[in-house]
Amino acid sequence: MNRFRSLLGGLLGWEFSLIILVGAALLIGGLLSPDFLTGSNISFLTANFSEVALMALAMTLLIIVGEIDLSVASILGLCSAVIGILFAAGVPMPLAILAAFVTGGLAGLFNGLLVTRLGLPSLAVTIGTLALYRGLAYVLLGDRAIAEFPAFYTNLGFGNVPGTLIPLPMALFAVLAILTIIVLHATPFGRSLYAIGANQIAARFAGLQVERVKLSLFVLSGLMAALASAVYTFRFASARADNASGFELSVIAAVLLGGVSIFGGRGSVVGTVAAVFLIGIINGALTILDVSNEILTIVTGLLLIGSVLVPNLLTHFRTYQQRRRIKGDSVIQ
């Protein structure tokens, strides 16, 4: 009961507002265009942000422990190149996908080792590996594009769950999101992430293996990027070195908009999921309304800033009022 209440209390905060906003965006989109609230359109537009959504799950956990991974989109590109080059060399597809996962895991491990063993700031490390991994993707593939994957695999990318309009990548995302929610909010491991993010030194004194936890999260982030690379490669039926470049900022924007604090220790997966949907749906609505893409860029930026600025201003206003009331009282006395 207690856990239920705290879960509800958490939901009634920022996450709840986001969910309301998602509903509002759907409604406004539907009012403005009759083509918007059709099953096939919603299906199409949710498929469109599945890679960002997948990577945002691992990023949520990383930012909660106070780290960040700017290299995710580059890992995606590298893994996509690995799939492409191996497939072109005649390696069976399952093995190529496996190799992509190994690559993603190793890339994440390398990030994690630099951060946890050398004590380097993750922002600097992953700016470096952002260039390194994308560069390696170019070394592997150059400016070639490898296409013509077997239909079975491309169907995995842009097909739907049989009998429904739910895109397969989104079904995968739903399963992983639920798993992440359970792990983060209802297991000792998940709770330890908040402890580490809130105060790393206190967490270490409390016996938490801070370094090992962080390392595992970096590996997870790499693996998620590998998974997203398979989705991306098959959805567009194309393996290119520049696949998904620039996605790292969309992923981080979604996580921060979802209410995860950049300083760590605060946030929830529900918030991230709602934010991913909000950005994706506004994007889809603007596209169908023929509003140019630039407005979306501006809206994403404003939402991101607003998500931190508005609560800050509210707190400021409240303390200001309190102070005035106290001053007023002392004058009366």
């Binding site: 600097a124 390696l136 991101l304």
Partner: protein, 340 residues
């Protein structure tokens, strides 16, 4: 361990030579010489007038941006929005020239500075007064400024053929063989390096980044200093946008995209700490130069263009890793000295 023992003889303070050798700038210069001479031995054309000129022109825009970024990094903040500011400034300046071909060049530079200062003040207000973390605020304005650029450009682009000859002449011109753009970048770099080293205002950037609470107690107006830093970073990025237009002539809505990471990389390679309070502009400028030289050496050595990005990334990682190992060893030595 009951009381701190006083060392019998004070440890000899390191002489000027070893201090010189320890300085980040010296190892950067050494590395620069190594790469330059090594490449020149294999292909003498590397040191030809034209290729050096090209290299310096390319570096000048990054070097300029590094100045603003360093001011912000010193205060333990970051400015990701500079690339979008460059794009917007380049395009708007270009449009101004298309509308009034007779506009004098200094006015264009002033326009870039002013526009950049306005955009920078948005970041400053958000970070200094709104208490929004710099990473979030400037990631947001990176999107917003770029979006505004897309909206203004709406599919068009500025071509060199639309720009007045006076401006194109400024872009290609030089004084005593040194290109104008390089002179401008070097002047800004030296001016700010001097300011950071020897002026009260400059030292305040270090104080804020080292310990902002202590800075407040020391009577520094941290809020105003933060605001100033972001305004300066924006203004310099706006100026860099005008240079970008002068250098490339052709500008579309994506101008400058992705520069922010190169700029941060240059600053970090140059020894500016991402944790604030540490670094010099001389080092940061050398970092920009080193990255530029590495890039151009790779082209000269006929390394496939595809290797460049990977090597730049590896270089950045090596720089920060070595830095960390060196400072760790220094800390350990200090501890041992205290113990004995």
């Amino acid at each position: 361990m009951t009381e701190r023992s006083v060392p019998a003889s004070a440890p000899a303070s390191p002489g000027w030579l070893s201090r010189l050798l320890m300085a980040r700038e010296v190892s950067l210069v050494g590395l620069l010489l190594l790469v330059t001479l090594g490449t020149a031995v294999i292909n003498p054309l590397f040191l030809s007038f034209g290729s050096v000129r090209d290299l310096l022109l390319n570096v000048s825009i990054i070097a300029l941006l590094v100045v603003g970024q360093t001011l912000v990094l010193l205060m333990k903040h970051v400015d990701l929005s500079v690339s979008s500011t460059v794009g917007l400034s380049a395009f708007l300046t270009g449009s101004l020239f298309v509308a009034n071909p007779g506009m004098p060049v200094p006015l264009a530079l002033l326009f870039g500075l002013g526009l950049g200062a306005v955009l920078g003040s948005v970041n400053g207000l958000l970070v200094a007064y709104g208490k929004v973390p710099a990473l979030v605020a400037t990631l947001g304005t990176l999107y917003v400024f770029r979006g505004i650029t897309y909206a203004v450009v709406s599919g068009g682009q500025i071509n060199a053929s639309n720009l007045p000859p006076s401006f194109l002449g400024f872009g290609t011109g030089s004084v005593l063989g040194v290109p104008n753009l390089v002179l401008l970048a070097v002047a800004v770099l030296i001016g700010f390096a001097f300011y950071l080293r020897s002026y009260r205002g400059g030292r305040e950037y270090y104080a804020v980044g080292s310990n902002s609470e202590a800075a407040v107690l020391a009577g520094i107006n941290v809020t105003r200093r933060t605001m100033t830093g972001f305004v300066l970073s924006g203004a310099i990025a706006g100026l860099a946008g005008v240079l970008y237009l002068a250098r490339f002539g052709t500008v579309d809505a994506t101008a400058g995209a992705g520069l922010e990471l190169q700029v941060i990389a240059a600053a970090v390679v140059g020894g500016v700490s991402i944790n604030g309070g540490v670094g010099t502009l001389l080092g940061a400028g050398l970092g920009a130069l080193l990255l530029g030289v590495m890039g151009s050496a790779l082209v000269t050595l006929r390394a496939p263009g595809f290797y460049q990005q990977a090597i730049q990334g590896a270089l950045l990682l090596a720089a920060i890793s070595i830095d960390m190992l060196v400072s760790r060893r220094a800390a350990k030595r200090l501890q041992e000295e205290r113990k004995s």
